[in-house]
């Protein structure tokens, strides 16, 4: 942050813009402090952060659906939604109204209580993840010192409501989707966790805020992704994040060509929308955490920190949408094999690389890292090569 590139006046403006939300909250609290006791002010502080997060999640989800439909449309040479409002900006609201007016269908043999609970429960971890995401400088809702551990623990709860929903629906397609979700999410949790380890090693902290702070450097561009272990870790983390929130090409739980709609086959109306909301909020938080861990979080030149954070996160989300527009779905065995036989060994190599980098970080270390990575990649690709059995011929007896 301490660079003489910009004049003090501009730095002042930057500081104000940077702290605009923090200042607003402090102003409201000081106003309340005039005529309310201290403990109420503390409660108000918690409430303000909570309300902001509770509003932010759904709003982000609404506009992510629009962004996704627009980008996918453009990829497929169509205009996306452009009828409701300018550029279709009111489309998410129209969708919401439609969802609320739809009939809520519960299968006759369904487990009614669990069927109702599943979509409610799934939103909870999705919203809880927002707590530890550092949206900007001093803009982490709860600066937990075990932030990343919390993130990993809470994000893995998402399996449970999905499985609840699929089990309670009493539908074989739902159950298949739920089974796949459980298998996929547990598998991808492991390489994801191990891909986070290098960032924790280098910043020597589990707190998301400290991880961002440790990426401070000249020109605010000392991000972890600009190191060999950083880029490998980022790619692995991002692929696992895509798999974690069940987005294409890892969308086996809701493979619409095989399992009608997977775990949400028997859901309609607002319950279905809640599953969707959780998926998009998970996509956002996972991209946010990927930004935090490897892309320097809110670190960046000139623009306010929160703008940097949201910019980086939305670039990652656009890449996720780009994936969806490009790739066909994985086969189940390929999906599992990719996690266990390719990503997992690669993360272990990556942790080793990080340890080496800790002691020697110079040009030679770069070359050594690239060499180790290339060799391990080559070995893994060789070990994972497709087995094509020899073609058997059965000559006809003449």
């Amino acid at each position: 942050m301490n660079i003489p590139l910009v004049s003090p006046a501009i730095r002042g403006i930057e500081f104000n813009a940077d702290m605009i939300f923090v200042t607003a909250k402090a102003w409201i609290l000081s106003l309340l402090g005039h005529f309310l006791p201290d403990w109420v002010v503390v409660l108000a502080s918690i409430t303000i952060s909570g309300v902001v997060i509770l509003c932010l999640g759904p709003v982000i989800m609404m506009y992510l659906t629009l962004l996704e439909r627009k980008l996918i449309g453009r990829i497929q040479n169509r205009y996306g939604p452009n009828r409701v409002g300018k550029w279709g900006l009111l489309q998410p609201i129209a969708d919401g109204i439609k969802m609320f007016t739809k009939e809520d269908i519960v299968p006759a043999k369904a487990d009614k209580v669990v069927h109702l609970l599943a979509p409610i429960v799934i939103v909870v971890p999705a919203l809880m993840l927002f707590l530890v995401v550092p949206f900007g400088e001093r803009m982490t809702a709860v600066n937990l010192n075990i932030g990343i551990l919390y993130f990993i623990a809470v994000s893995s709860i998402t399996i449970l409501p999905i499985f609840m929903g699929s089990w309670a629906s009493r539908n074989k397609y739902s159950l298949l989707g739920g089974m796949r979700t459980a298998a996929q999410m547990i598998s991808y949790e492991i390489p994801m966790t191990l891909a986070v380890v290098p960032a924790i090693m280098m910043s020597q902290s589990l707190s998301t805020n400290t991880i961002v702070m440790s990426q401070e450097g000249p020109y605010d561009m000392h991000w972890f992704i600009f190191t060999p272990w950083g880029i490998v870790g980022f790619i692995i983390f991002f692929l696992c994040a895509t798999a974690e929130c069940n987005r294409p090409p890892f969308d086996l739980p809701e493979a619409e060509s095989e399992l009608v709609a997977g775990f949400h086959t028997e859901y309609s109306g607002m319950k279905f929308a809640l599953f969707y909301m959780a998926e998009y909020m998970n996509a956002f938080t996972l991209c946010g955490i990927a930004t935090t861990l490897f892309l320097g979080g809110w670190q960046g030149l000139f623009f306010p920190s929160w703008l940097w954070f949201f910019g980086k996160t939305f670039v990652l989300i656009c890449v996720m949408i780009w994936f969806r527009g490009t790739f066909p779905r994985f086969r189940v065995d390929h999906l599992m094999g990719f996690a266990w036989k390719f990503l997992l060994p690669l993360t272990l190599v990556n942790i080793l690389l990080t340890a080496l980098w800790q002691f020697t970080s110079n040009l030679a270390a770069w070359l050594w890292s690239i060499l180790i990575l290339a060799v391990s990649l080559w070995v893994l690709v060789k070990l994972n090569r497709t087995f094509i059995p020899e073609k058997r011929h059965y000559p006809l007896e003449s």
Partner: protein, 194 residues
């Protein structure tokens, strides 16, 4: 040896190219080819054919149709209904009193246009046909079906001008034969030509 993941990269570049070119390329060069219908329309092709209509020359009284009923018989879904107009003495006036086409039955085959020997029925360009009263409202009566020759000239100029030339030639030929053989007496006409 190909690099691991090269195919994935190539695939992503294809979609990226599609995404970027959708903003500036023309439809036939790989851009967006959606025609946003109510605001934009595709160019109407001259030979585009939709529901049939009746042509009149000049005024609606000078209708070409003589109520011969050929189209009524030929119509595959039987959506045409014709009744001959009778003059005061009860003789057929060679004019339709009733000419209804049920647009809800019509399948736009164009048989009526092909079989009409009086160049009266042609297929229209109007495809935005609606009614507020269900299928009842889609039965079009003579008044709604009658359209001028100028309209026909406008929507299908090539066909209309050939038809006009044909009709003009036929009329001149008729006039010439009429002039060559002076009209016989009224009694002779009743007997008919020998």
């Amino acid at each position: 040896m190909t690099i691991f993941g090269w195919g994935v990269f190539k695939g992503m570049m294809v979609t990226l190219k599609n995404f970027l070119t959708s903003y500036f390329r023309k439809p036939d060069e790989g851009g967006i080819f959606t025609v946003q219908y109510p605001e934009e329309r595709e160019k109407e092709l001259e030979n585009f054919r939709n529901f049939p209509f009746l042509v009149y020359d000049g005024t609606p009284e000078k209708i070409r149709c003589v109520a011969c009923g050929i189209c009524e018989r030929e119509c595959p879904p039987k959506c045409i209904h014709i009744e001959m107009e009778l003059d005061g003495t009860g003789k057929p006036a060679r004019k339709p009193a009733v000419f209804d086409i049920d647009y809800s039955l019509c399948m736009n085959c164009g048989m009526c246009e092909e079989v009409c020997p009086f160049d009266s029925v042609f297929m229209d360009h109007a495809f935005e046909v609606t009614s507020e009263t269900g299928s009842e409202g889609l039965v079009r009566h003579k008044e709604a079906l009658l359209k001028s020759n100028e309209y026909f000239q406008k929507i299908r100029p090539a066909l209309a001008s050939t038809i006009d030339q044909k009709r003009k030639a036929a009329e001149e030929k008729k006039k010439a034969t009429v002039q060559a053989t002076p009209p016989p007496a009224a009694g002779a006409q009743a007997q008919g030509p020998q």
